[in-house]
């Protein structure tokens, strides 16, 4: 069985990362921005697991588990913030949340 070249995994990670960055920068809805951050974290995880498989260790997979833990914490706090924001300003658009803008 010929293995899959490492470059393919790196390119897949790069593509997912770029799509996530485009989502974070262009969308107005805060919820979709949070989902794009999840895309970016998944791109990182693919690279970690691919290199862990290449070097025949599980350290990369352990790091990927920590990344998933971070994603869960970030989603909980981010969604709590969005609920608090929606209660105060009745909007989920990032460009209408300009209370700190001078």
């Amino acid at each position: 069985m010929t293995p899959i070249p490492m470059e393919w995994y790196v390119f897949l990670g790069t593509g997912l990362f770029t799509i996530g960055v485009i989502g974070v920068l262009t969308r107005r809805n805060v919820l979709v921005i949070l989902m794009s951050i999840e895309l970016i974290l998944n791109a990182v995880n693919i690279n970690l697991v691919a290199f862990a498989n290449h070097f025949q260790t599980v350290d990369g997979q352990v790091f990927a588990i920590f990344v998933v833990t971070d994603a869960a914490a970030e989603a909980a706090v981010g969604l709590g913030l969005i609920i608090a924001l929606f209660r105060n300003k009745e909007t989920v658009n990032a460009d209408e949340i300009d209370l700190l803008k001078w």
Partner: protein, 169 residues
């Protein structure tokens, strides 16, 4: 082209295509559904990389936990008014240009740099199962990070409750 390579190409095309759908869908509920497709494709890629435990974690924790939380909040704050407005910010061409510049930079570094000159290791078979290997690694070599991650989760839980609750009258 061998069968694993075909499977990889199929999974990665599904992941990239559904990721694009996530960021172009107008309705956030549809974005969540497409993100679930992306996460399943990434889980399939984990399975191809002999990471069975992460495959299960991805499906149980990501799709079953985080995405349900997202769906819940989307339905809680869904606005009919927001669906009628434009879903991209005013300066999206500049943002798109910036993101594509980052992509070009990554690809330039990849081609002009040393490339992936990784040592070819022998593909040995793992003596232990994947879950057992991860467990002994987590609780022996990475004991302190596990404790720090658990405290992080506790803080995030308390923070989310404090953030989302109403003011006490």
């Amino acid at each position: 082209m061998t069968l694993p390579q075909l499977a990889f190409l199929g999974l990665s095309l599904a992941a990239l295509g559904s990721a694009v759908m996530v960021i172009i869908q107008k309705n956030p509920v549809h974005s969540v559904i497409w993100l679930i497709v992306t996460l399943f494709s990434v889980a399939g890629i984990y399975l191809m990389l002999h990471a069975e435990f992460l495959f299960a974690v991805q499906i149980i924790l990501y799709v079953g936990g985080i995405m349900v939380l997202f769906l819940f909040v989307v339905m809680l704050v869904n606005l009919d008014e927001a669906a009628r407005q434009t879903s991209f910010s005013r300066r999206w061409p500049l943002a798109l240009f910036t993101a594509l510049a980052v992509l070009a930079e990554l690809l330039y570094g990849f081609y002009k740099g040393q490339g992936l000159r990784l040592p070819q290791l022998v593909q040995g078979t793992q003596a232990k199962g994947n879950t057992q290997a991860i467990a002994s690694m987590l609780y022996q070599n990475y004991m302190l990070p596990v404790e720090i991650a658990s405290i992080l989760l506790l803080v995030a839980m308390v923070g989310a409750v404090v953030m989302a609750k109403r003011k006490i009258e």
